[in-house]
């Protein structure tokens, strides 16, 4: 199962359905809801925390939390 930590720089993913208890409400309110997109912007040195663009909100979260956000990675269609 892919999660936010599997994204490459600039890559996007669409958040999958998740069970309610895992993620803090605060994160949901910032737009972490099924169907919304997540883009990886930066990873801090030592691989933590992770800086994402969550549905237009630019936030940084820790790796441990990022791991819980499951998603389908959007494969970039490369122009020939």
């Amino acid at each position: 199962m892919a999660s936010v930590i599997d994204l490459a720089y600039g890559q996007k993913g669409i958040i999958k359905d998740f069970s309610e208890h895992v993620l803090p409400i605060k994160l949901l309110e910032l737009g972490c809801l099924p169907g919304n997109s997540v883009e990886l912007v930066q990873i801090a040195p030592l691989n933590d925390p992770i800086y994402i663009n969550l549905n237009g909100s630019h936030i940084a979260i820790r790796r441990s939390l990022a791991q819980l956000i499951e998603l389908d990675i959007v494969e970039e269609t490369q122009a020939p």
Binding site: I25, E29, Q42, A44, P45, A60, L65
Partner: protein, 738 residues
């Protein structure tokens, strides 16, 4: 006259709420604290059209009414309590046009509380660059409100806000979201149990850790026990509420908010690539810190020298102009010396607050949090601890208040406990004067030794904070859940006006807050220094005169006279006159100098036998091993109230003991120890600097820690630990260097 309109400014962090507050109120604002807690309360008055006045309250930034910090609870409690004197007649919800979707989340919640709400869409000047277009009219209809499109940067739209506030009675108070949609059964039961209360308010009281005046939380819990939900179920409902709100917002924005993706490429991504880079990010951060310290040291020396000289001149003037007497002495030696000790540090403190506010306003501070989080974690801290630790360089009090954004209690407690190690601006006066005295001038690689010493002291403070944090992390056994989340706002050119207000406000509160203590202590010290009970004090003149007649002047006085004569002769020689030709004037000069040296010796004998001299002598054995004499001992003791008092105390003690007015620094440089060598040598200077770096010399900080941790236990532990550490380290440093 009609009553003024109560207005609350509410909004997510980083939406420019403060700018709007500043533009609405101008300088007619007041910063205080909410009663009993240390959240900063900003309020001001705004003149509206048609002679109406509005009382504007700037509430702490909050993402939603779902609270995770004290600041946020405060917002919810105020909005729920109709009886509060600050309860708003109208809420002004401030949003950022770029983050409208997320910002509207809070707006819909406020709207559902049935408080008249005005929507302010700020940062309108960025719309064209971001390719954003809005249909304001349609949006007003969908959200059932009035909208003001504002650009604080260009000063546009402020009048529209004022008009809407004045006209608040025409605003609709219908909710955006029918709360019962969250769970029809649950809300029906709720309404049945409390038919007179609003269901959404009840819902907030149940899910949030806040009190609701008309009904106590417990009452609700009792009454609803037959349909109480478990925590998990409540969370599921909150989840549903979130989804419903976003559905509503998405529907609204679909037809009213357009972004042209092609035009929307921002600078943020490219700047972030550099500023949060694994190598360059740190280099830039370090370079910025270095620049700040170099500036504080170099730039502020000019205004400081100027102030120093002005005060010396003023004191001199008073002594010469006013009739000699007790009042003149009090004014010149007590009050003026004390005030001078405060005023002189205004330039530095202003510079420091200037930099800190620039870093915050520009959005860079969040990047620092991001860069530092992983590095801080081994010490039991979080990236968010960096902000308090950096603000601690200005003052520990706001810094400790800033720890409120740290969600994890253990991380927060550790941050509170170690923040006082960072070099606050009150230590600066002490450091600066000591560095100027004991560290030689000269430079390496363009950085002066003095600036480098200051940098080292800052690093020491920061290092000690980290080290103690690590120890505390091992010792403290506190379990707490961690949720680390930082918003990375768009980079913005800081608004000069906002920065200016911050610098003005903080400097003012430093001067008046610390100034009061310093002034009071100066007067007390002056009194204690110029009065004494012993015979030695009363008969100082005879005793010293007799000693001089029998034994001659002290070595110091003889040297002083000799040096002056020598330089006079040198001067004469350069004018081409033979020494013999000025025999008479040399004689006169010698007589004058002898007289002044005698007066000086009497004065210092008097001081030594005054009340304060006696007290200092009694205290001396404790500080002697650290290389301090009784005068420094007194200064250390009085500066327990606040560190900067150290310099003021020395200034008062020395000017009491001195016949001529000189700058504090020159006076300290002239101070000799028992062997006739300068008292402020490298060993004493370093020992003192280390003592001040490590000791908890600040009553206000202790008081804040007590309030924030809600017990005397933590401040007392802090005080004991830091004092012992400071004493031991200063002792070791002096013994090794001496």
């Amino acid at each position: 006259m009609s009553k003024s309109i109560n207005v609350a400014l509410i909004g997510n962090p980083n939406t420019g709420k403060t700018s709007i507050f500043n533009q609405l109120t101008g300088l007619k604002q007041k910063v205080g604290n909410y009663p009993g807690i240390t959240v900063e309360k900003k309020e001001g008055i705004c003149k509206l059209p048609r002679g109406v006045k509005a009382h504007i309250l700037d509430l702490p930034g909050t993402y939603s009414l779902n609270t995770t910090s004290l600041d946020e609870s405060l917002v919810v409690e105020l909005l729920l309590n109709k009886n509060d004197k600050d309860f708003p007649d109208v809420a002004v919800v401030i949003t950022d046009v770029e983050n409208l979707k997320r910002n509207l989340f809070l707006f819909t919640q406020i709207k559902d509380l049935k408080i008249p709400a005005i929507l302010v869409i700020n940062m309108a000047d960025r719309m064209s660059r971001k390719g954003i277009s809005l249909d304001i009219e349609a949006m007003e209809k969908q959200l059932d409100t009035k909208i003001a499109l504002v650009s604080t940067r260009k000063g546009e739209g402020i009048d529209r806000i004022k008009e809407l506030i004045a006209d608040y009675r025409s605003l609709s108070t219908a909710p955006n979201l029918d709360a019962s949609r969250i769970s029809p059964d649950y809300f029906k039961n709720l309404q049945k149990a409390f038919p007179n209360e609003d269901p959404y308010k009840l819902w907030l009281v149940i899910t949030q850790d806040v009190n609701f005046m008309p009904i106590e939380k417990k009452q609700i819990q009792d009454a609803t026990s037959f349909f109480t939900k478990s925590k998990e179920e409540l969370k599921k409902l909150q989840h549903r509420e979130t989804v419903l709100r976003y559905q509503f917002i998405n529907d609204t924005l679909k037809s009213t908010y357009k972004v042209d993706q092609l035009a929307a490429k921002g600078l943020r991504a490219s700047i972030d690539k550099i500023l949060t880079h694994k190598v360059f990010g740190y280099l830039i951060f370090f370079a910025i810190l270095l620049l700040i310290f170099q500036t504080i040291f170099e730039w502020s020396s000019y205004p400081m020298d100027f102030i120093d000289e002005q005060f010396a001149a003023a004191s001199e003037w008073i002594k010469n102009t006013l009739p000699a007497g007790l009042f003149t002495d009090l004014l010149a030696e007590g009050i003026l010396a004390g005030i001078g000790g405060v005023v002189i540090f205004i330039p530095q403190i202003a510079f420091l607050f200037l930099f800190i506010s620039l870093l915050e306003e520009s959005g860079y501070m969040s990047r620092v949090v991001f860069l530092m989080d992983r590095l801080m974690r081994p010490f039991g801290l979080s990236g968010k601890s960096v902000v308090p630790l950096i603000s601690g360089n200005a003052c520990a009090i706001p810094a400790i208040m800033a720890t409120r954004t740290i969600e994890n209690w253990k991380e927060r407690l550790i941050t509170i406990l170690v923040t006082p190690f960072t070099t606050c601006s009150a230590r600066l006066p002490v450091y600066l004067i000591l560095i100027a005295l004991v560290i030689p001038e000269g430079s390496v690689l363009g950085l002066s030794y003095q600036a480098l010493t200051l940098m080292l002291l800052y690093l020491l403070g920061f290092g000690m904070a980290l080290f103690s944090a690590m120890v505390l992390d091992k010792i403290l056994k506190i379990k707490s859940r961690s949720l680390f989340m930082v918003e990375m706002p768009t980079y913005r050119m800081p608004l000069i006006k906002n920065v200016g207000y911050t610098v003005l406000e903080k400097t003012k509160s430093f001067v008046f807050g610390a100034g009061k203590i310093i002034l009071a202590l100066s007067i007390v010290l002056w009194f204690l220094g110029s009065n004494g009970y012993s015979d030695d004090f009363q008969n100082a003149e005879e005793i010293v005169s007799e000693r001089i007649t029998n034994e001659g002047l002290s070595t110091y006085s003889n040297n002083y006279i000799q040096t002056n004569i020598d330089s006079y002769l040198e001067e004469v020689k350069s004018e081409g006159l033979a020494p013999s030709a000025v025999q008479d004037s040399v004689q006169t000069l010698t007589a004058e100098l002898t007289e002044s040296a005698k007066a000086q010796e009497i004065a210092s004998y008097k001081l030594e036998h005054s009340y304060i001299g006696q007290a200092g002598k009694a205290f001396e054995p404790i500080v002697k091993p650290l290389g301090y004499d009784w005068k420094i001992g007194i200064a250390v003791l009085t500066s327990f109230a606040a560190r900067e008092v150290f310099v003021g105390t020395l200034a008062t003690i020395y000017s009491v003991g001195s016949d001529e007015e000189e700058t504090i620094q020159n006076r300290m440089a002239a101070e000799l120890d028992d062997d006739g060598k300068p008292l402020f040598n490298l060993a004493t200077g370093v020992s003192l600097m280390l003592f001040y770096a490590l000791a908890m010399q600040c009553m206000s900080t202790l008081a804040i820690v007590k309030r924030e941790t809600n017990s005397w236990k933590w401040p007392m532990i802090q005080l004991g630990f830091m004092s012992v550490l400071a004493y031991v380290v200063a002792l070791a440093a002096y013994q090794i260097l001496a």
